[in-house]
């Protein structure tokens, strides 16, 4: 099937080489980081995780959201999603690969990565994160590839795939839950110390992931001869709006608890993010932009006439995706570190090098996604020509 990725139009190859260019450019900065150390980033002894770990967290969500196609199709027999479930699984593969790359980019001693396996430590959440992420990658590779292969040969998927598909449902939930546990089990970080962190992670994931899938469906329809289908896109849009509303509800629960109890350890971080603290507020405009985007996304998606108009739908999905990306990818991680344990404000903003290294990771992810989608569309085309 892979041969499909080797033949393509001029536009396809231009896109592939653009991605390769971004990867090469960013990789140059990674070599610099390997040489100098993580000091080329904006991180400090007070904000010890930044852009990389935030992207990792966001992308775990995108990966987990494949379950929003798997559940309706395999558990509720919602046939329409059968056409695009593999798109969700392939998106999950690309996302998990980016997650792993972001973790590696964030390590001070990446060549020692395998120490995590050499000295397995079950009481560290990072150990479990490694297990669930690699497991999820394998499940989606095996399931996605085999189901597509069966479809290509016009035979039903092998029986042994079924248990694996069912397993992928709780497994998807587990990857984002464990990711939340990285944060919410730490005693001194009031911003993250909340039981609703994992549910909120999942809700925002089930908004951002499907929103991105809607956009991918629209792109695939425009650049290939394969149409993911109007019904499919509309159903995904409903998933997006449910997820996005749940996310905002959880967020408001969070805000209420912090604001009403007025316990400084919980309140200070929110105050820093949305209003600034002790005269520092570099993230304030970002956070309000995120909120505005998420809320307008919800409004657009809630109005049936707007949702049914695919141009408006595309805008709403971009709003939702970007809004959640800012909230989770900029605010969530840095916000937990500011103010620091001594209640001092040391701000964080990513450096150019840091953003370029992140761009290289995203480039790699998009390259993987492009290849997988090329294979997927290629198989679909073969079938229509038969």
């Amino acid at each position: 099937m892979l041969e499909n990725a080797l033949k393509g139009s001029k536009a396809y190859w231009i896109w592939v080489f653009v991605l390769l260019g971004i990867i090469t450019f960013g990789f140059g900065f990674y070599l610099k980081q390997l040489d100098f150390g993580l000091g080329i980033t904006g991180m400090s002894r007070d904000v010890t995780w930044g852009f990389y770990i935030a992207q990792f967290t966001f992308l775990v969500g995108v990966a987990a959201s494949a379950v929003m196609l798997v559940i309706p199709y395999y558990l509720h027999n919602y046939k329409a999603f059968g056409k695009i479930t593999i798109m969700g699984e392939f998106l999950a593969i690309a996302s998990v690969i980016m997650c792993i790359l972001f973790i590696v980019a964030d390590l001070g001693q990446p060549m020692r990565l395998l120490n995590v396996l050499l000295y397995p430590t079950p009481h560290s959440m990072l150990f479990w994160d490694m297990i669930v992420l690699s497991g999820y990658l394998m499940i989606n590779l095996v399931v996605g590839w085999n189901v597509l292969d069966a479809e290509r040969n016009s035979v039903p998927p092998a029986k042994w795939l079924k248990p694996l598909i069912y397993l992928s449902v709780p497994w998807a939930i587990s990857i984002h839950t464990v990711t939340a546990y990285l944060y919410c089990g730490l005693p001194g970080r009031g911003f993250w110390l909340t039981a609703i962190l994992a549910p909120r992670f999942l809700a925002s994931a089930f908004a951002a992931g499907p929103a991105f899938l809607v956009l991918l469906c629209l792109i695939v329809r425009n650049v290939t001869k394969f149409d993911p289908g109007r019904e499919q896109i509309q159903s995904l849009a409903k998933v997006v709006v449910y997820g996005s509303i749940a996310n905002m509800f959880f967020f408001l629960c969070e805000v209420f608890v912090a604001m009403y109890s007025q316990i400084p350890e919980h309140l200070d971080h929110l105050q820093y993010l949305f209003f600034g603290l002790h005269g520092h507020g570099i993230l304030v405009p970002w956070m309000w932009t995120a909120m505005a985007l998420i809320v307008s996304g919800i409004i657009l998606l809630l109005i049936p006439a707007a949702r049914r108009n695919e141009s408006v739908l595309a805008v709403a999905c971009v709003f939702t995706f970007v809004g959640i990306w800012i909230d989770k990818g900029m605010g969530m991680v840095a916000g937990g570190f500011i103010p620091n344990p001594l209640h001092e404000v040391h701000e964080y903003f990513p450096t150019f090098a840091e953003v370029m290294i992140a761009a290289a990771v995203y480039g790699t992810g998009f390259l993987v996604l492009t290849i997988l989608y090329k294979v997927f569309v290629g198989v679909k085309m073969e079938l229509t020509h038969k």
Partner: protein
């Protein structure tokens, strides 16, 4: 309550027996006692006969005896003893012991009408050597671990630089080598008795484990002019216990259940 985190560790350990057996094999094959307990032999200093030992090391800091000069002297001595680099960029800063004002040392105990003496007083902060350390729980490679005498140590050769321990520490006591500490003349006069580190690993105060091993008190205690007292918290006759018996002491964020081994007399 006291040991809840530790018992959770045990529970998690048992529930992951299959995985735990991997480290058991590791211990058997290496034939090293330190390695079989999940610790690296590199990180434990050889003890001489003069070595100071304790069931649980602790420190009492008498803020009434502190002044700017003593605090600066302690920081300087610690830097020199442990080859702590001095970087110009604030973001790359490495600190083992430093001083801060009361409102930063005890952010949960902010008083509107705080005693005048305490407002501007420099108070030293360092690793609390918690009896129930969240950093040890978070570390995915056991590069940071707790010794039998309570000291929380770092294995600089095992650390992968994920900085999970820094997120877990509620006291901001840990530093990361964001750049090469050996370069740029960041270490002025290298102390050959203590290792320098490399870029990309975490470090922190070790209660001068290397000095205890040769019968010396921690360097900050030595230069503190009596403001810092060091000893065995489990020994009722020790000087630290005598001080705690006679004075009301506070600890940093003790509500978090980390059980710090550093006490402050205010």
């Amino acid at each position: 309550m006291e040991n809840s985190r530790r018992s959770f560790l045990k529970f998690a350990g048992v529930s992951a027996l299959g995985l735990g057996s991997l480290s058991l094999i590791d211990g058997l094959t290496s034939g090293d006692v330190a390695a079989s307990s999940g610790q690296s032999s590199e990180a434990t200093f050889k003890r001489s006969k003069k070595a100071l030992t304790a069931k649980r090391w602790g420190m009492v800091i008498d803020t009434r005896k502190l002044d700017d000069e003593i605090c600066k002297e302690m920081e300087k001595a610690c830097r020199a003893t442990h080859n702590i680099p001095e970087h110009k960029n604030k973001r790359h800063e490495i600190k083992w012991i430093w001083d801060a004002h009361y409102k930063h040392v005890f952010p949960g105990k902010q008083d509107e009408f705080l005693a005048e003496r305490l407002k501007e007083l420099p108070i030293p902060v360092l690793c609390n050597q918690c009896a129930n350390p969240p950093c040890v729980q978070a570390c995915p490679t056991q590069a940071t671990f707790q010794r039998e005498d309570g000291i929380v140590m770092m294995d600089f050769h095992r650390c992968i630089g994920c900085r999970f321990c820094m997120a877990a520490c509620p006291y901001g006591s840990r530093s990361f080598n964001f750049r090469d500490p050996r370069g740029d003349n960041a270490i002025k006069n290298e102390n050959k008795d203590f290792p320098t580190r490399m870029k990309g690993v975490v470090e922190k105060c070790n209660f001068c484990a290397e000095r205890l091993a040769v019968g010396k008190q921690p360097i900050c205690v030595e230069v503190s002019k009596g403001a810092l007292v060091f000893g065995d918290l489990e020994d009722p006759q020790s000087e630290v216990r005598q001080l705690l018996k006679k004075n009301y002491a506070i600890r940093r964020k003790q509500n978090l259940g980390t059980n710090p081994s550093v006490y402050y007399l205010v």
